[in-house]
Protein backbone atom coordinates (compact mmCIF):
# COMPACT_ATOMS: atom_id res chain seq x y z
CA UNK A 1 0.00 0.00 0.00
CA UNK A 2 2.94 2.35 0.43
CA UNK A 3 3.24 2.95 -3.29
CA UNK A 4 -0.45 3.71 -3.41
CA UNK A 5 -0.06 6.26 -0.64
CA UNK A 6 2.80 7.91 -2.45
CA UNK A 7 0.72 8.15 -5.55
CA UNK A 8 -2.29 9.50 -3.69
CA UNK A 9 -0.75 12.90 -3.19
CA UNK A 10 0.36 12.91 -6.79
CA UNK A 11 -2.96 11.96 -8.22
CA UNK A 12 -5.03 14.69 -6.60
CA UNK A 13 -5.79 16.74 -9.64
CA UNK A 14 -6.63 13.83 -11.92
CA UNK A 15 -9.71 13.26 -9.89
CA UNK A 16 -10.59 16.91 -10.27
CA UNK A 17 -12.44 15.92 -13.40
CA UNK A 18 -15.13 14.32 -11.29
CA UNK A 19 -16.09 17.69 -9.93
CA UNK A 20 -15.82 19.49 -13.21
CA UNK A 21 -13.51 22.18 -14.47
CA UNK A 22 -14.17 24.37 -11.46
CA UNK A 23 -11.79 22.25 -9.42
CA UNK A 24 -8.85 22.47 -11.79
CA UNK A 25 -7.28 25.71 -10.59
CA UNK A 26 -7.45 24.85 -6.92
CA UNK A 27 -5.81 21.56 -7.45
CA UNK A 28 -3.07 22.87 -9.63
CA UNK A 29 -1.98 25.08 -6.74
CA UNK A 30 -2.11 22.25 -4.24
CA UNK A 31 -0.37 20.01 -6.66
CA UNK A 32 2.57 22.40 -7.04
CA UNK A 33 2.98 22.50 -3.28
CA UNK A 34 2.93 18.77 -3.12
CA UNK A 35 5.39 18.57 -5.99
CA UNK A 36 8.05 20.18 -3.84
CA UNK A 37 7.56 17.61 -1.11
CA UNK A 38 7.25 14.66 -3.41
CA UNK A 39 10.01 15.37 -5.86
CA UNK A 40 12.76 13.50 -4.05
CA UNK A 41 10.71 10.35 -3.67
CA UNK A 42 9.52 10.57 -7.24
CA UNK A 43 13.00 11.03 -8.68
CA UNK A 44 13.77 7.36 -8.44
CA UNK A 45 10.53 6.08 -9.85
CA UNK A 46 10.80 4.09 -13.03
CA UNK A 47 9.56 6.19 -15.88
CA UNK A 48 8.58 3.50 -18.33
CA UNK A 49 5.75 5.58 -19.62
CA UNK A 50 7.88 8.54 -20.65
CA UNK A 51 10.15 8.43 -23.63
CA UNK A 52 13.24 10.16 -24.87
CA UNK A 53 11.38 13.25 -26.00
CA UNK A 54 10.69 14.32 -22.46
CA UNK A 55 14.41 14.67 -21.73
CA UNK A 56 14.49 17.77 -23.89
CA UNK A 57 12.14 19.72 -21.67
CA UNK A 58 12.92 19.42 -18.00
CA UNK A 59 9.85 21.26 -16.84
CA UNK A 60 7.56 19.10 -18.85
CA UNK A 61 9.17 16.02 -17.42
CA UNK A 62 8.53 17.17 -13.87
CA UNK A 63 4.97 17.97 -14.78
CA UNK A 64 4.55 14.59 -16.42
CA UNK A 65 5.56 12.74 -13.32
CA UNK A 66 3.39 14.75 -10.99
CA UNK A 67 0.49 15.45 -13.16
CA UNK A 68 -2.48 13.32 -13.09
CA UNK A 69 -3.70 16.71 -14.14
CA UNK A 70 -5.20 15.79 -17.37
CA UNK A 71 -7.24 18.90 -16.91
CA UNK A 72 -9.17 20.24 -19.84
CA UNK A 73 -7.41 23.31 -21.14
CA UNK A 74 -4.01 22.23 -19.83
CA UNK A 75 -1.19 20.48 -21.68
CA UNK A 76 -1.88 16.78 -21.94
CA UNK A 77 0.75 14.54 -20.32
CA UNK A 78 3.42 13.43 -22.76
CA UNK A 79 3.99 9.74 -23.28
CA UNK A 80 5.67 7.15 -25.45
CA UNK A 81 4.11 3.71 -25.47
CA UNK A 82 4.55 0.57 -27.54
CA UNK A 83 1.63 -1.05 -29.31
CA UNK A 84 0.88 -4.75 -29.73
CA UNK A 85 2.97 -4.89 -32.93
CA UNK A 86 6.02 -3.42 -31.20
CA UNK A 87 5.69 0.04 -32.75
CA UNK A 88 6.25 3.10 -30.57
CA UNK A 89 3.89 6.04 -30.44
CA UNK A 90 4.79 9.39 -28.92
CA UNK A 91 2.12 11.99 -28.26
CA UNK A 92 4.17 15.06 -29.09
CA UNK A 93 5.31 13.57 -32.41
CA UNK A 94 1.70 13.33 -33.44
CA UNK A 95 0.61 16.75 -32.30
CA UNK A 96 3.64 18.34 -33.92
CA UNK A 97 2.47 16.86 -37.20
CA UNK A 98 -0.74 18.79 -36.72
CA UNK A 99 -2.79 15.78 -35.67
CA UNK A 100 -5.67 15.79 -33.24
CA UNK A 101 -5.26 12.75 -31.01
CA UNK A 102 -8.08 10.70 -29.47
CA UNK A 103 -7.16 8.38 -26.59
CA UNK A 104 -9.44 5.51 -25.63
CA UNK A 105 -8.73 3.67 -22.42
CA UNK A 106 -9.22 0.03 -23.37
CA UNK A 107 -9.85 -3.43 -21.94
CA UNK A 108 -11.03 -5.98 -24.48
CA UNK A 109 -12.88 -8.00 -21.83
CA UNK A 110 -14.89 -5.14 -20.34
CA UNK A 111 -18.59 -5.29 -21.32
CA UNK A 112 -18.71 -1.55 -22.00
CA UNK A 113 -15.77 -1.77 -24.41
CA UNK A 114 -17.25 -4.89 -25.98
CA UNK A 115 -20.52 -3.02 -26.54
CA UNK A 116 -18.76 -0.44 -28.69
CA UNK A 117 -16.76 -2.95 -30.70
CA UNK A 118 -19.24 -5.80 -31.16
CA UNK A 119 -22.84 -4.78 -30.70
CA UNK A 120 -22.05 -1.36 -32.17
CA UNK A 121 -19.00 -0.30 -34.11
CA UNK A 122 -18.73 3.06 -32.42
CA UNK A 123 -14.97 3.33 -32.48
CA UNK A 124 -14.34 1.93 -35.93
CA UNK A 125 -17.02 4.30 -37.25
CA UNK A 126 -15.36 7.25 -35.55
CA UNK A 127 -12.06 6.26 -37.12
CA UNK A 128 -13.59 5.94 -40.56
CA UNK A 129 -15.15 9.38 -40.31
CA UNK A 130 -12.36 11.38 -38.69
CA UNK A 131 -9.10 9.71 -39.56
CA UNK A 132 -9.17 11.17 -43.10
CA UNK A 133 -9.45 14.58 -41.46
CA UNK A 134 -6.20 14.28 -39.53
CA UNK A 135 -7.41 12.66 -36.33
CA UNK A 136 -5.30 9.87 -34.85
CA UNK A 137 -6.93 7.24 -32.64
CA UNK A 138 -4.98 5.35 -30.00
CA UNK A 139 -6.33 2.76 -27.58
CA UNK A 140 -4.40 2.45 -24.31
CA UNK A 141 -4.56 -0.55 -22.01
CA UNK A 142 -3.27 0.28 -18.53
CA UNK A 143 -4.13 -3.12 -17.09
CA UNK A 144 -1.31 -4.69 -15.09
CA UNK A 145 0.16 -7.99 -16.22
CA UNK A 146 -2.12 -10.86 -15.30
CA UNK A 147 -5.24 -8.74 -14.90
CA UNK A 148 -8.39 -9.03 -16.97
CA UNK A 149 -7.85 -8.10 -20.59
CA UNK A 150 -4.19 -7.23 -20.14
CA UNK A 151 -1.13 -8.24 -22.11
CA UNK A 152 0.15 -8.13 -25.65
CA UNK A 153 -1.46 -11.34 -26.88
CA UNK A 154 -4.96 -10.60 -25.61
CA UNK A 155 -4.91 -7.10 -27.05
CA UNK A 156 -3.38 -8.15 -30.36
CA UNK A 157 -6.24 -10.61 -30.64
CA UNK A 158 -8.78 -7.86 -30.01
CA UNK A 159 -7.25 -5.78 -32.79
CA UNK A 160 -7.73 -8.72 -35.15
CA UNK A 161 -11.14 -9.83 -33.88
CA UNK A 162 -12.59 -6.37 -34.00
CA UNK A 163 -10.74 -5.30 -37.15
CA UNK A 164 -9.44 -2.26 -35.32
CA UNK A 165 -7.87 0.22 -37.73
CA UNK A 166 -5.91 1.84 -34.89
CA UNK A 167 -3.41 0.39 -32.42
CA UNK A 168 -3.69 -0.71 -28.81
CA UNK A 169 -0.84 0.70 -26.74
CA UNK A 170 0.32 -1.22 -23.69
CA UNK A 171 0.75 0.68 -20.44
CA UNK A 172 1.19 -2.21 -18.02
CA UNK A 173 2.90 -0.09 -15.38
CA UNK A 174 -0.18 2.12 -15.35
CA UNK A 175 1.97 5.25 -15.40
CA UNK A 176 0.24 6.88 -18.37
CA UNK A 177 -3.21 5.90 -17.11
CA UNK A 178 -2.48 7.47 -13.78
CA UNK A 179 -1.00 10.56 -15.40
CA UNK A 180 -4.28 11.02 -17.22
CA UNK A 181 -6.39 10.03 -14.24
CA UNK A 182 -8.03 7.29 -16.27
CA UNK A 183 -10.26 5.14 -14.10
CA UNK A 184 -12.57 3.39 -16.54
CA UNK A 185 -12.70 1.64 -19.86
CA UNK A 186 -13.69 3.23 -22.12
CA UNK A 187 -12.57 6.65 -20.95
CA UNK A 188 -11.92 9.21 -23.67
CA UNK A 189 -9.48 12.10 -24.05
CA UNK A 190 -9.05 14.41 -27.02
CA UNK A 191 -5.78 16.31 -27.46
CA UNK A 192 -5.58 19.11 -29.99
CA UNK A 193 -2.55 19.82 -32.14
CA UNK A 194 -1.32 22.43 -29.68
CA UNK A 195 -0.96 19.65 -27.12
CA UNK A 196 -3.85 20.76 -24.92
CA UNK A 197 -6.53 18.49 -23.55
CA UNK A 198 -9.82 19.54 -25.11
CA UNK A 199 -12.17 16.78 -23.98
CA UNK A 200 -12.23 14.27 -21.15
CA UNK A 201 -15.01 11.85 -20.35
CA UNK A 202 -17.47 9.36 -21.74
CA UNK A 203 -17.74 8.21 -25.32
CA UNK A 204 -21.47 8.86 -25.31
CA UNK A 205 -24.48 9.47 -23.11
CA UNK A 206 -25.70 5.94 -22.51
CA UNK A 207 -23.84 4.26 -19.64
CA UNK A 208 -25.46 0.86 -20.12
CA UNK A 209 -23.60 -2.23 -21.25
CA UNK A 210 -25.88 -2.85 -24.21
CA UNK A 211 -27.68 0.22 -25.48
CA UNK A 212 -26.64 2.84 -28.01
CA UNK A 213 -26.14 6.41 -26.91
CA UNK A 214 -27.92 9.32 -28.53
CA UNK A 215 -25.06 11.79 -28.28
CA UNK A 216 -21.50 10.76 -29.11
CA UNK A 217 -19.51 13.32 -27.12
CA UNK A 218 -16.27 12.55 -28.94
CA UNK A 219 -17.78 13.02 -32.40
CA UNK A 220 -19.39 16.24 -31.26
CA UNK A 221 -16.12 17.55 -29.83
CA UNK A 222 -14.15 16.53 -32.94
CA UNK A 223 -16.62 18.38 -35.18
CA UNK A 224 -16.12 21.51 -33.11
CA UNK A 225 -12.33 21.16 -32.97
CA UNK A 226 -12.04 20.62 -36.72
CA UNK A 227 -14.23 23.67 -37.32
CA UNK A 228 -11.97 25.76 -35.12
CA UNK A 229 -14.62 26.15 -32.42
CA UNK A 230 -14.29 25.59 -28.72
CA UNK A 231 -15.64 22.34 -27.37
CA UNK A 232 -19.08 22.94 -25.91
CA UNK A 233 -19.23 19.80 -23.77
CA UNK A 234 -15.63 19.44 -22.65
CA UNK A 235 -16.10 17.25 -19.60
CA UNK A 236 -18.48 14.41 -18.93
CA UNK A 237 -18.43 11.53 -16.49
CA UNK A 238 -16.98 8.47 -18.18
CA UNK A 239 -18.64 5.12 -17.61
CA UNK A 240 -17.13 1.66 -17.80
CA UNK A 241 -15.22 -1.01 -15.91
CA UNK A 242 -12.44 -0.10 -13.54
CA UNK A 243 -9.01 0.19 -15.14
CA UNK A 244 -7.11 -2.83 -13.79
CA UNK A 245 -4.10 -1.14 -12.21
CA UNK A 246 -1.57 -3.18 -10.26
CA UNK A 247 -2.36 -3.75 -6.59
Amino acid sequence: MKSVKTLLAVLVAGSAMLAGPVMADDHKKEQKQEQKQERKQEGKKDDKGYGDKSKDKKDEKKDDKKSSTAAVGSPAPEFTLTDTTGKEHTLSSLTKEGKTVVLQWFNPDCPFVVKHHEKFTTFNDLHAKYSPRGVVFLAINSGAAGKQGAGKDRNAKAVTDWKMPYPVLLDESGAVGKAYGAKRTPEMYIITKDGLLAYHGAIDDNPSADEAGKVNYVAKALDEILAGQSVSTATTRAYGCTVKYAD
Partner: protein, 317 residues
Protein backbone atom coordinates in the same frame (compact mmCIF):
# COMPACT_ATOMS: atom_id res chain seq x y z
CA UNK B 1 -58.63 -1.75 -19.49
CA UNK B 2 -56.57 -4.85 -19.22
CA UNK B 3 -53.41 -3.06 -20.14
CA UNK B 4 -50.78 -3.68 -17.48
CA UNK B 5 -48.88 -0.75 -16.04
CA UNK B 6 -45.24 -0.69 -16.97
CA UNK B 7 -42.96 1.23 -14.75
CA UNK B 8 -39.32 1.86 -15.54
CA UNK B 9 -36.66 3.40 -13.50
CA UNK B 10 -34.33 5.26 -15.75
CA UNK B 11 -30.61 4.77 -16.00
CA UNK B 12 -30.03 7.87 -13.93
CA UNK B 13 -31.07 7.89 -10.30
CA UNK B 14 -33.44 9.97 -8.20
CA UNK B 15 -36.30 10.42 -10.62
CA UNK B 16 -39.63 10.07 -8.87
CA UNK B 17 -41.61 7.36 -10.54
CA UNK B 18 -45.36 7.09 -10.64
CA UNK B 19 -47.48 4.74 -12.67
CA UNK B 20 -46.50 6.19 -16.00
CA UNK B 21 -46.50 3.93 -18.98
CA UNK B 22 -43.14 4.19 -20.61
CA UNK B 23 -41.96 2.81 -23.89
CA UNK B 24 -40.25 -0.38 -22.95
CA UNK B 25 -36.91 -1.06 -24.49
CA UNK B 26 -36.48 -4.27 -22.56
CA UNK B 27 -38.31 -7.51 -23.15
CA UNK B 28 -39.12 -9.65 -20.13
CA UNK B 29 -36.75 -12.58 -20.46
CA UNK B 30 -37.38 -15.72 -18.46
CA UNK B 31 -33.95 -17.19 -17.79
CA UNK B 32 -31.09 -15.08 -16.49
CA UNK B 33 -28.50 -14.33 -19.13
CA UNK B 34 -25.25 -12.51 -19.04
CA UNK B 35 -22.73 -10.90 -21.27
CA UNK B 36 -19.74 -12.70 -19.92
CA UNK B 37 -16.30 -11.29 -19.61
CA UNK B 38 -14.55 -14.03 -17.74
CA UNK B 39 -15.08 -16.68 -20.38
CA UNK B 40 -12.54 -17.43 -23.08
CA UNK B 41 -12.86 -15.27 -26.17
CA UNK B 42 -14.47 -16.78 -29.24
CA UNK B 43 -12.19 -18.34 -31.79
CA UNK B 44 -13.47 -16.35 -34.73
CA UNK B 45 -15.50 -13.16 -34.72
CA UNK B 46 -18.87 -13.16 -36.45
CA UNK B 47 -21.42 -10.42 -36.95
CA UNK B 48 -23.70 -12.28 -34.54
CA UNK B 49 -24.87 -10.44 -31.41
CA UNK B 50 -22.39 -10.43 -28.55
CA UNK B 51 -24.42 -12.66 -26.27
CA UNK B 52 -24.32 -15.46 -28.81
CA UNK B 53 -20.63 -15.10 -29.57
CA UNK B 54 -19.55 -15.64 -25.96
CA UNK B 55 -20.48 -18.50 -23.64
CA UNK B 56 -22.69 -17.44 -20.74
CA UNK B 57 -21.52 -18.30 -17.22
CA UNK B 58 -23.78 -18.90 -14.23
CA UNK B 59 -25.13 -15.62 -12.94
CA UNK B 60 -23.22 -13.91 -10.15
CA UNK B 61 -26.31 -12.17 -8.85
CA UNK B 62 -29.82 -13.56 -8.78
CA UNK B 63 -32.97 -11.51 -8.61
CA UNK B 64 -36.21 -12.25 -6.79
CA UNK B 65 -39.31 -10.09 -6.56
CA UNK B 66 -40.70 -10.06 -3.04
CA UNK B 67 -43.50 -8.38 -1.15
CA UNK B 68 -44.22 -7.76 2.50
CA UNK B 69 -47.83 -8.85 2.05
CA UNK B 70 -49.06 -12.04 0.42
CA UNK B 71 -52.60 -10.80 0.11
CA UNK B 72 -53.48 -7.28 -1.09
CA UNK B 73 -56.71 -5.37 -0.47
CA UNK B 74 -58.14 -2.42 -2.41
CA UNK B 75 -56.22 0.80 -1.87
CA UNK B 76 -53.67 -1.01 0.25
CA UNK B 77 -50.13 0.32 0.56
CA UNK B 78 -47.41 -2.29 0.68
CA UNK B 79 -43.79 -2.74 -0.30
CA UNK B 80 -42.30 -4.62 -3.19
CA UNK B 81 -38.60 -5.24 -3.38
CA UNK B 82 -36.00 -6.30 -5.90
CA UNK B 83 -34.01 -8.76 -3.83
CA UNK B 84 -30.52 -9.38 -5.21
CA UNK B 85 -28.35 -12.16 -3.84
CA UNK B 86 -24.70 -12.05 -4.87
CA UNK B 87 -22.14 -14.83 -5.04
CA UNK B 88 -19.33 -14.45 -2.48
CA UNK B 89 -16.89 -11.73 -3.52
CA UNK B 90 -19.21 -10.16 -6.09
CA UNK B 91 -21.01 -6.85 -5.78
CA UNK B 92 -23.56 -4.65 -7.51
CA UNK B 93 -23.74 -0.87 -7.34
CA UNK B 94 -25.53 1.77 -5.31
CA UNK B 95 -27.21 4.61 -7.14
CA UNK B 96 -25.05 7.38 -5.73
CA UNK B 97 -21.70 8.62 -6.99
CA UNK B 98 -19.39 5.86 -8.25
CA UNK B 99 -16.18 6.11 -10.23
CA UNK B 100 -17.02 3.06 -12.29
CA UNK B 101 -19.95 0.75 -11.98
CA UNK B 102 -23.57 1.14 -12.85
CA UNK B 103 -26.59 0.60 -10.58
CA UNK B 104 -29.34 -1.85 -11.53
CA UNK B 105 -32.19 -0.57 -13.63
CA UNK B 106 -35.50 -2.31 -14.00
CA UNK B 107 -38.94 -2.41 -15.46
CA UNK B 108 -41.94 -3.44 -13.39
CA UNK B 109 -45.02 -4.93 -14.95
CA UNK B 110 -47.98 -4.53 -12.61
CA UNK B 111 -51.73 -5.08 -12.91
CA UNK B 112 -53.74 -2.02 -13.97
CA UNK B 113 -54.10 0.82 -11.52
CA UNK B 114 -51.14 0.06 -9.27
CA UNK B 115 -49.10 3.13 -8.38
CA UNK B 116 -45.44 2.98 -7.36
CA UNK B 117 -43.39 5.51 -5.46
CA UNK B 118 -39.73 6.35 -5.56
CA UNK B 119 -37.43 3.38 -4.95
CA UNK B 120 -35.58 3.27 -1.63
CA UNK B 121 -31.92 2.25 -1.73
CA UNK B 122 -30.18 0.85 1.35
CA UNK B 123 -26.88 2.45 2.34
CA UNK B 124 -23.80 1.14 0.53
CA UNK B 125 -20.33 -0.10 1.34
CA UNK B 126 -17.15 1.65 0.17
CA UNK B 127 -15.08 -0.30 -2.34
CA UNK B 128 -11.67 1.00 -3.33
CA UNK B 129 -9.72 -0.36 -6.30
CA UNK B 130 -6.05 0.19 -7.16
CA UNK B 131 -5.47 3.46 -8.96
CA UNK B 132 -7.54 5.41 -6.45
CA UNK B 133 -10.88 4.26 -7.75
CA UNK B 134 -13.85 4.53 -5.39
CA UNK B 135 -17.19 2.84 -5.82
CA UNK B 136 -20.15 2.24 -3.52
CA UNK B 137 -21.49 -1.26 -3.63
CA UNK B 138 -23.70 -3.94 -2.17
CA UNK B 139 -22.30 -7.33 -1.26
CA UNK B 140 -24.02 -10.59 -0.33
CA UNK B 141 -27.61 -9.45 -0.45
CA UNK B 142 -29.59 -6.29 -0.87
CA UNK B 143 -33.18 -5.37 -1.60
CA UNK B 144 -34.24 -2.15 -3.28
CA UNK B 145 -37.62 -1.29 -1.77
CA UNK B 146 -40.48 0.04 -3.85
CA UNK B 147 -43.57 1.50 -2.18
CA UNK B 148 -46.74 0.46 -3.98
CA UNK B 149 -50.38 1.36 -3.65
CA UNK B 150 -53.11 -0.93 -4.96
CA UNK B 151 -56.04 0.61 -6.82
CA UNK B 152 -59.39 1.07 -5.09
CA UNK B 153 -60.92 -1.32 -7.54
CA UNK B 154 -59.07 -4.56 -7.42
CA UNK B 155 -59.84 -7.52 -9.66
CA UNK B 156 -60.49 -10.76 -7.82
CA UNK B 157 -58.17 -13.71 -7.90
CA UNK B 158 -54.45 -13.74 -8.30
CA UNK B 159 -52.35 -10.70 -9.07
CA UNK B 160 -49.21 -11.30 -11.10
CA UNK B 161 -46.37 -8.85 -10.80
CA UNK B 162 -43.22 -9.05 -12.88
CA UNK B 163 -39.89 -7.33 -12.96
CA UNK B 164 -37.06 -7.47 -15.46
CA UNK B 165 -33.75 -5.90 -14.65
CA UNK B 166 -30.25 -5.31 -15.92
CA UNK B 167 -27.29 -4.80 -13.64
CA UNK B 168 -23.53 -4.79 -13.53
CA UNK B 169 -21.98 -7.30 -11.14
CA UNK B 170 -18.25 -7.13 -10.46
CA UNK B 171 -15.52 -8.75 -8.49
CA UNK B 172 -12.19 -7.92 -10.04
CA UNK B 173 -13.87 -8.23 -13.41
CA UNK B 174 -17.31 -7.03 -14.41
CA UNK B 175 -20.22 -8.83 -15.99
CA UNK B 176 -23.36 -7.25 -17.35
CA UNK B 177 -26.27 -9.47 -16.33
CA UNK B 178 -29.98 -9.39 -16.73
CA UNK B 179 -32.79 -11.33 -15.16
CA UNK B 180 -36.44 -11.33 -14.41
CA UNK B 181 -38.70 -12.49 -11.64
CA UNK B 182 -42.38 -12.68 -10.97
CA UNK B 183 -44.55 -12.75 -7.91
CA UNK B 184 -48.14 -13.85 -7.41
CA UNK B 185 -50.19 -12.15 -4.73
CA UNK B 186 -53.80 -12.83 -3.92
CA UNK B 187 -56.43 -10.16 -4.15
CA UNK B 188 -58.28 -9.81 -0.86
CA UNK B 189 -61.14 -7.54 -1.74
CA UNK B 190 -62.45 -6.03 1.46
CA UNK B 191 -60.13 -7.99 3.71
CA UNK B 192 -57.00 -6.76 5.47
CA UNK B 193 -53.73 -8.01 4.10
CA UNK B 194 -51.67 -10.04 6.46
CA UNK B 195 -47.96 -10.56 6.77
CA UNK B 196 -48.00 -14.32 6.59
CA UNK B 197 -48.93 -16.83 3.95
CA UNK B 198 -47.25 -18.42 1.02
CA UNK B 199 -46.41 -17.02 -2.38
CA UNK B 200 -43.72 -14.64 -1.22
CA UNK B 201 -45.55 -12.81 1.55
CA UNK B 202 -43.97 -14.53 4.55
CA UNK B 203 -40.34 -14.65 3.55
CA UNK B 204 -40.66 -11.33 1.79
CA UNK B 205 -41.79 -9.55 4.91
CA UNK B 206 -38.72 -10.68 6.86
CA UNK B 207 -36.24 -9.60 4.20
CA UNK B 208 -38.02 -6.29 3.67
CA UNK B 209 -38.07 -5.56 7.39
CA UNK B 210 -34.35 -6.24 7.59
CA UNK B 211 -33.63 -4.05 4.56
CA UNK B 212 -35.63 -1.18 6.03
CA UNK B 213 -33.04 -1.01 8.80
CA UNK B 214 -30.44 -0.37 6.10
CA UNK B 215 -32.31 2.54 4.56
CA UNK B 216 -30.91 5.99 5.36
CA UNK B 217 -32.88 7.72 8.07
CA UNK B 218 -34.23 11.10 7.04
CA UNK B 219 -31.72 13.13 9.02
CA UNK B 220 -28.87 12.82 11.47
CA UNK B 221 -29.82 12.09 15.07
CA UNK B 222 -30.15 14.85 17.61
CA UNK B 223 -26.82 16.20 18.74
CA UNK B 224 -25.13 15.35 15.48
CA UNK B 225 -24.36 17.96 12.89
CA UNK B 226 -23.23 18.25 9.29
CA UNK B 227 -22.35 21.34 7.39
CA UNK B 228 -20.10 22.94 4.82
CA UNK B 229 -17.69 25.61 5.99
CA UNK B 230 -16.89 27.72 2.99
CA UNK B 231 -13.49 29.29 2.50
CA UNK B 232 -11.72 31.07 -0.29
CA UNK B 233 -10.46 28.10 -2.22
CA UNK B 234 -13.26 25.72 -1.42
CA UNK B 235 -14.95 24.44 1.64
CA UNK B 236 -14.81 21.77 4.25
CA UNK B 237 -17.61 19.32 4.83
CA UNK B 238 -17.78 18.40 8.50
CA UNK B 239 -19.91 15.67 9.95
CA UNK B 240 -19.85 15.34 13.71
CA UNK B 241 -21.69 12.50 15.43
CA UNK B 242 -21.11 12.40 19.20
CA UNK B 243 -21.03 8.82 20.39
CA UNK B 244 -19.84 7.42 17.08
CA UNK B 245 -16.75 5.26 16.90
CA UNK B 246 -16.60 5.50 13.12
CA UNK B 247 -18.26 7.73 10.53
CA UNK B 248 -18.33 7.37 6.75
CA UNK B 249 -19.68 9.51 3.94
CA UNK B 250 -21.19 8.29 0.68
CA UNK B 251 -21.86 11.11 -1.78
CA UNK B 252 -24.95 11.33 -3.94
CA UNK B 253 -23.96 14.59 -5.59
CA UNK B 254 -20.66 15.79 -7.03
CA UNK B 255 -18.39 18.15 -5.17
CA UNK B 256 -15.74 16.08 -3.42
CA UNK B 257 -12.99 14.45 -5.40
CA UNK B 258 -12.30 10.73 -5.19
CA UNK B 259 -8.86 11.02 -3.57
CA UNK B 260 -10.33 13.12 -0.77
CA UNK B 261 -13.13 10.62 -0.26
CA UNK B 262 -10.74 7.69 -0.24
CA UNK B 263 -8.45 9.20 2.38
CA UNK B 264 -11.00 11.08 4.39
CA UNK B 265 -14.37 9.53 3.63
CA UNK B 266 -14.04 7.15 6.55
CA UNK B 267 -12.98 8.48 9.93
CA UNK B 268 -12.40 6.80 13.27
CA UNK B 269 -14.20 8.58 16.00
CA UNK B 270 -16.96 11.07 15.78
CA UNK B 271 -15.64 13.69 13.37
CA UNK B 272 -15.30 13.43 9.61
CA UNK B 273 -13.87 16.25 7.53
CA UNK B 274 -13.71 16.37 3.76
CA UNK B 275 -12.51 19.12 1.44
CA UNK B 276 -15.18 20.28 -0.91
CA UNK B 277 -14.56 21.99 -4.24
CA UNK B 278 -14.98 25.72 -4.59
CA UNK B 279 -18.28 26.65 -6.11
CA UNK B 280 -20.13 23.68 -4.69
CA UNK B 281 -23.50 25.06 -3.67
CA UNK B 282 -25.29 22.08 -2.23
CA UNK B 283 -24.51 18.48 -1.46
CA UNK B 284 -26.53 15.44 -0.71
CA UNK B 285 -25.26 12.15 0.53
CA UNK B 286 -25.57 9.42 3.08
CA UNK B 287 -23.63 9.13 6.32
CA UNK B 288 -22.86 5.74 7.84
CA UNK B 289 -22.41 5.64 11.63
CA UNK B 290 -20.95 2.86 13.71
CA UNK B 291 -22.06 3.65 17.23
CA UNK B 292 -19.98 3.05 20.33
CA UNK B 293 -21.68 0.56 22.62
CA UNK B 294 -24.55 2.17 24.42
CA UNK B 295 -24.25 5.50 22.61
CA UNK B 296 -26.75 4.87 19.83
CA UNK B 297 -29.98 6.87 20.05
CA UNK B 298 -32.98 5.12 21.48
CA UNK B 299 -34.82 3.09 18.93
CA UNK B 300 -31.76 2.39 16.85
CA UNK B 301 -31.59 -1.30 16.12
CA UNK B 302 -28.33 -2.82 17.25
CA UNK B 303 -27.25 -5.02 14.37
CA UNK B 304 -25.13 -8.07 14.96
CA UNK B 305 -21.44 -7.32 14.90
CA UNK B 306 -21.60 -3.99 13.11
CA UNK B 307 -21.92 -5.51 9.71
CA UNK B 308 -23.79 -2.49 8.50
CA UNK B 309 -23.60 0.96 10.01
CA UNK B 310 -26.72 2.97 10.70
CA UNK B 311 -27.34 5.21 7.69
CA UNK B 312 -28.54 8.80 7.78
CA UNK B 313 -29.29 11.14 4.91
CA UNK B 314 -27.60 14.53 4.85
CA UNK B 315 -28.68 17.38 2.65
CA UNK B 316 -26.50 20.45 2.85
CA UNK B 317 -26.75 23.82 1.19
Amino acid sequence: MAIPSRVCNGLLPTVPILAVSMAASMVVAAPPTGTSTDAPSPAAPTPAPATQARPVPAPKATLALISDFASIGPGQEFTLALHFTMQPGWHIYWNGINDTGFPPNWELELPPGFVVGEPLWPGPKRYISPGEILDHVYEESVAILIPVRAPDELPRGDLTLRVSSKWLVCKDICIAEEGSASLTLSSASGADGSGGGAGGGGGGAGVIRAMRERLPRESLPEGASAGIERGGRGGMLEVRVPGARKVEFYPESEGIEASELIRGGSADGELLKLRVGAGVEAMTGVVGVWWSAGREPRGTPTGKGGEHPVFYRVSLD
